[in-house]
């Protein structure tokens, strides 16, 4: 499975993704400079975390106009896979490939911490290796991670099972004490109706190498490989 990781000026989590897909999973991976326009050779496009364009104006607002983005939109429209992590999720909402917006954390602090998440819908290539309702632990590191969408959009996301990850307690309770940033409905990650585009604020790539003490993120990548290619090396 061929992975491409887009690098915007200011992206800084690209190499962590490459370490997982290439270093740990041995999948062909290349980094894509944001001004490239041909990504047709790739299966999965990843928009990594970081501070593209310094988060100036709004997170992801300027990255949205990079020359690679129309190709990413076309890739998604063809039903191919797109993963936005943290700043990547912010870019995807600015582009409009995912609904809603990510705004300043409710308590205004940048939060760098481990966070429990509930896997809500395992009927997607991204979450196929998890069990339904599984409680996992992934790192978060963001200042603008509060998910916002209007009531109508939220209802649609709920009805269509587009919410894949929710902030929860260690026991899997979805409540406000478990919500680090004030996201509506404790939303940590969502997909589009066709389920080929995923955006999430937590960092699965930082929880894939067992050397670091986390392993719940690896299941996202393994599930993806198994669901699409049918085998994991």
């Amino acid at each position: 499975m061929k992975f491409g990781v887009i690098v915007f000026p200011g992206s800084n989590c690209d190499r962590d993704v490459v370490w997982v897909t290439s270093g740990l999973l041995d999948q062909p991976t290349r980094r894509i400079w944001h001004q490239e326009t041909d990504i047709s050779d790739l299966d999965v496009i990843v928009l990594p975390g970081g501070f593209s364009y310094g988060d100036y104006l709004r997170c992801g607002a300027i990255a949205r106009f990079s020359s690679v983005i129309p190709a990413v939109v076309e890739h998604a429209n063809q039903g191919k896979l797109v993963l936005g992590i943290c700043n990547g999720f912010q870019v995807l909402t600015e582009v409009g490939l995912l609904p809603g917006a990510l705004i300043r954390n409710k308590e205004l602090h940048f939060i760098c911490d481990r966070q429990f998440l509930k896997v809500e819908n395992t009927n997607t290539p991204w979450t196929s290796a998890y069990s339904s309702g599984e409680v996992i632990n992934l790192p978060i590191a963001h200042g603008e991670g509060r998910y916002y969408a209007d009531a109508e959009t939220l209802a649609q996301l709920e009805d269509r099972g587009q919410i894949l990850f929710r902030y929860c307690t260690a026991n899997g309770e979805v409540n406000q004490t478990a919500n680090p940033n004030g996201s509506l409905n404790n939303i940590a990650g969502i997909c589009n109706p066709k389920k080929n585009v995923l955006g999430m604020m937590p960092h699965p790539e930082r929880a894939s190498d067992p050397v670091l003490g986390f392993k719940d993120g690896m299941k996202l990548f393994e599930g993806l490989l198994k669901a699409v290619v049918g085998a994991v090396s």
């Binding site: 909402t93 809603g100 917006a101 308590e107 205004l108 916002y148 969408a149």
Partner: protein, 91 residues
């Protein structure tokens, strides 16, 4: 393009969006001793000069720029003023 316009753009949060930064400023005002203020919300002011043939063309462009880049319509509203500036370009 013979006319020069100064665009003064105001980007504000939609009323339905919680503004914790505004709330923080409001508590700062309370600490200053002002307890008679409410509804503090923080927005952005952006200005730019644009060269255009006429006011209508300039307005259309600024409107498009606001809608696509300067404001996120999911969470923000915008409004702007366009003021013609003396231009050194002579027809």
């Amino acid at each position: 393009m013979t006319k020069k316009y100064l665009a003064q753009i105001y980007v504000t949060l939609r009323p339905s969006v919680l503004d914790p930064a505004g709330t923080a400023v409001q508590s700062g005002l309370a600490q200053m001793g002002y307890h008679n203020v409410d509804g503090v919300r923080i927005g952005k002011y952006i200005e730019m000069t644009v060269m255009a043939d006429d006011y209508h063309t300039a307005r259309e462009q600024i409107d498009a720029v606001c809608d696509r880049l300067l404001a996120n319509p999911v969470i923000e509203n915008y409004r702007f003023d366009l003021l013609e500036q003396p231009s050194s370009v002579v027809k």
